[in-house]
């Protein structure tokens, strides 16, 4: 006999279902008067936030090519200098005017999600610098466990080429699925759940 480890097991995931908006973005679904605003809605920056303003637009697309109109997307990112606004950030203090987290339901007609945010700085990992990226978490009816992915930027070719996470991906043809296409201040990032262009999802 040995001592038991006594670790608990993570609660199993269940789908967010079709009515995730009721709990997470009630105003979006027309239920007003309980929460003043939907948590994580609106621009991630204010007047004093440092950094370059960008708009991220995209859709989550199923195996038939149809955009999901009931998905919920959350993003989490570093500030313009590469610091996270989190107690687990020990390298320095993040911009107090940048919370770094946002939540957006897909449009009920078009399936589009939109985040008004800033371009993040580079964050080190294992002695190297990661390229600027935004972390995404996607849930919806029919998705049994939230999907984790990342969006990098097409205007960061040199940084992307030395990114330790992108370099981890054996099948190089899949790397472009993680690169948001930047045109002006807009970055477009469509997420494919299946098919030839299936987006890379991570087990983190």
């Amino acid at each position: 006999m040995v001592q038991p480890l006594n670790y608990l097991k993570e609660s199993p995931s269940q789908t967010a279902g079709p009515y995730v908006h009721i709990g997470c973005t009630p105003n979006f679904t027309g239920i007003h008067g309980v929460y003043e605003t939907d948590l994580g809605s609106g621009p991630l920056y204010n007047d004093k936030t440092r950094g370059e303003r960008i708009t991220i637009r995209g859709r989550v697309i199923d195996g038939s090519g149809t955009p999901l109109r009931d998905a919920l997307i959350e993003i989490w990112q570093a500030d313009a200098d590469g610091f996270y606004n989190s107690p687990s950030e020990t390298r320095g203090k993040a911009d107090p005017n940048f919370f770094g987290w946002g939540r957006c339901p897909a449009d009920m007609a078009t399936g589009e999600f939109v985040f008004e945010t800033i371009k993040p700085g580079r964050v080190p990992h294992a002695g190297r610098l990661m390229a600027p990226h935004v972390t995404l978490w996607i849930v919806a009816r029919g998705i049994n466990i939230g999907l984790q992915t990342r969006m990098y930027f097409s205007d960061e070719e040199a940084a992307n080429a030395e990114d330790p996470v992108l370099n981890r991906i054996e099948h190089r043809v899949r790397v472009p699925t993680l690169i948001g296409k930047r045109e002006g201040d807009t970055v477009t990032f469509d997420i494919y759940l299946q098919g030839e262009n299936e987006t890379v999802f991570f087990d983190i």
Partner: protein, 246 residues
């Protein structure tokens, strides 16, 4: 924050055998929405082991009282009055303080307040069906609601969801993000539900079934159900606090 070192360690690897796989044909919607390629494994970087802090001041007084948070003044939601309470823990058994817990549910007749909901059961004008709270320093949360009804849904020709409450939990790191559902002890629909059955492990399913808690039941008022939620554990950082290179 607690009087402790900042939590900077990575998370325990997720035991995927305890979770539903992406592709579960018994739950038809998953067929076209399930990634088919292997996930790329990644040890947590700063981008996943960090996460935002939600302050207690964002919570309104009645956010955790679904019996009144949508009701007209002086009125209450119709249904069996219950208290749902428990702790948000991590796999080390440590209470997760400051976790954001959001919940939503159907009304007593099994009807959701949502534009796309078409079930013929009536809406309750005094029931919105959602609330939220932030765990205390020990990871404890609680809310008052009415017991949701089971409802039919289009999947098989005669599929019914057991009574359930949806939960979204935000712990300390983005890698801990979790959405799940709570079921009620004794409901025979649990074991024939295609969504419950996406979870391959029966023991894991049982961890989503809240027992009736007579000890915390308030006489002549409401019954209690106890529901603990476990998020991924975090490694201790005895040898991980070295400065990261740059």
């Amino acid at each position: 924050m607690k009087n402790a070192l900042p939590e900077t360690g990575g998370f325990f690897a997720r035991d995927r055998a305890m979770h539903p796989p992406a592709y579960t044909p018994g739950y038809k919607t998953s067929v076209l929405r399930s990634p088919q390629r292997a996930l790329i494994s990644l040890e947590g970087t700063k981008s996943e082991i960090t996460g935002p802090v939600f302050g207690h001041n964002m919570i309104n007084e009645f956010d955790n009282d679904l019996i009144v948070n949508y009701a007209k003044p002086g009125e209450m939601a119709i249904g069996q009055r219950i208290l749902v309470h428990g702790r948000v823990l991590d796999e080390r058994g440590v209470g997760v303080d400051g976790a954001l817990v959001e919940f939503w549910q159907a009304n007593a007749g099994g009807r959701y307040r949502h534009k796309k909901e078409t079930y013929l059961a009536p809406l309750d004008p005094n029931f919105g069906g959602f609330g939220r709270c932030i765990t205390d320093e020990n990871g404890y949360y609680w809310f008052r609601t009415i017991k949701p009804g089971p409802y039919p849904w289009p999947n098989g020709v005669n599929d019914w969801r057991p009574a359930h409450i949806h939960f979204s939990i935000f712990g300390h790191g983005f890698a801990q993000r979790l959405i799940t559902q709570m079921y009620f002890e004794g409901d025979p629909l649990i074991w024939i539900c295609p969504i419950v059955k996406t979870i391959p492990d029966e023991e894991a399913i049982k961890r989503l079934v809240a027992p009736l808690d007579m000890s915390n039941t308030i006489p002549m008022d409401l019954r209690a159900y106890k529901f603990d939620i476990v998020l991924r554990g975090r490694r201790s950082t005895f040898f991980e606090n070295r400065k990261e290179g740059n």
